[in-house]
Symmetry: C2
């Protein structure tokens, strides 16, 4: 599969590298082609990796990952272009972190809304799915780093979700540990959860954790 | 110990009953003494149980539980009276749920603030501790209902926390499963988490769950 990965940070690099290892072709997108981090990533990730601006990455991908910071995601997707998003699955991994008064950063754009729902409203022809934002980047693509039956929530477009669940399976998340939270209204809780996650990270002294369900 | 439990709902009743079973004396507080639910609860909970208005319950307790709905907590504490809160541990179990546009209800008063921090600011002489709001009422007082090493976060006043951790131990939460998230700034994450909890409850079809940590 051809995948466009928007964003050159730790999350974009982790997901881009995992996808190329799995045999997918990946174009990493950034504000301008030739971005230093994207070029270095593409050189290291091998033949199936390339880079370009947001529009080039979005046009390249049959499926897109939004790995930009939530504060900049709508700008990044505007640069990607509505015509390059239409009818495509857009997996939104973003978190909205306001560092202006931190640390710790303030989490979320509102307790009543989510980045993912904003993206869906701005691009009604895209098929937005929210997942993976609830763990550190390395755990997103290698859940076996942690013991136990820890879980990954997903929500969003019903037609796009099965394909994303399959991709999560390639990443190492068994289907019975992927919790379907329904439509994108659940993205609010998934993004707000990160405020709790940050407090837990502070208490545990590590980002290497996730939650499992006792029921 | 004499404990004032503010609130007559499921949470207040569960905590009040558990405390009387443990041998503590409990006065349940509500807007006006003689509240039907409080009277029925006190009759059933036995000799160590009584009821009164918010001020009577707050005056009675050496330690207080705020089990009112988060939307009404500041009003309830105002009725309780600053003089009845001063120098006392106030365990805030509340959640702020706005049902006006639900279901599901909107969670939290803001992604940047918490009920617990508002209480502490309004009553600087009180010792506010946030805990227990992350699980259903029956699990708060009987964590053994669920299998596994599921956890309970706590945050707030440093001098008050050890006593609350001890009380959580009486409820059935071993100290190593109580996660200290530091000061009250972590209450934002604990209250925002409930948005995620509600989505999980919808997906799982039950309120009988909690999260454990894989690390």
């Amino acid at each position: 599969m051809k995948v466009g990965v928007l964003g050159t940070g730790m999350v974009g690099q982790a997901i881009g590298s995992k996808l190329t290892e799995l045999g997918h072709e990946v174009k990493m997108g950034s504000r301008e082609s030739g971005n230093e981090k994207a070029v270095a990533w593409a050189a290291e990730a091998g033949d199936r990796a390339s880079e370009g601006d947001f529009a080039a990455a979005a046009a390249f991908g049959e499926l897109l990952f939004n790995c930009t910071a939530g504060e900049h995601s709508l700008d990044a997707l505007e640069a990607a272009g509505a015509e390059n998003l239409a009818a495509k699955t857009v997996v939104d991994v973003s978190n909205y972190l306001d560092h202006s008064a931190g640390p710790p950063p303030a989490v979320g754009l509102s307790h009543l809304d989510s980045v993912a729902a904003n993206i869906q409203r701005a691009y009604p022809d895209a098929r937005v799915v929210k997942t993976l934002n609830t763990v550190n980047a390395d755990i997103m693509v290698d859940p076996g780093r942690l013991p136990g039956e820890h879980v990954m929530p997903i929500c969003g477009d019903e037609e796009a979700k099965p394909g994303v669940v399959e991709l999560l399976g390639e990443f190492g998340w068994p289907p019975d540990r992927v919790i379907d939270l329904g439509d994108l209204s659940s993205a609010t809780g998934m993004e707000m959860y990160v405020s709790y996650w940050l407090a837990l990270m502070g208490a545990l002294g590590t980002s290497q954790f996730n939650v499992a369900l006792s029921r």
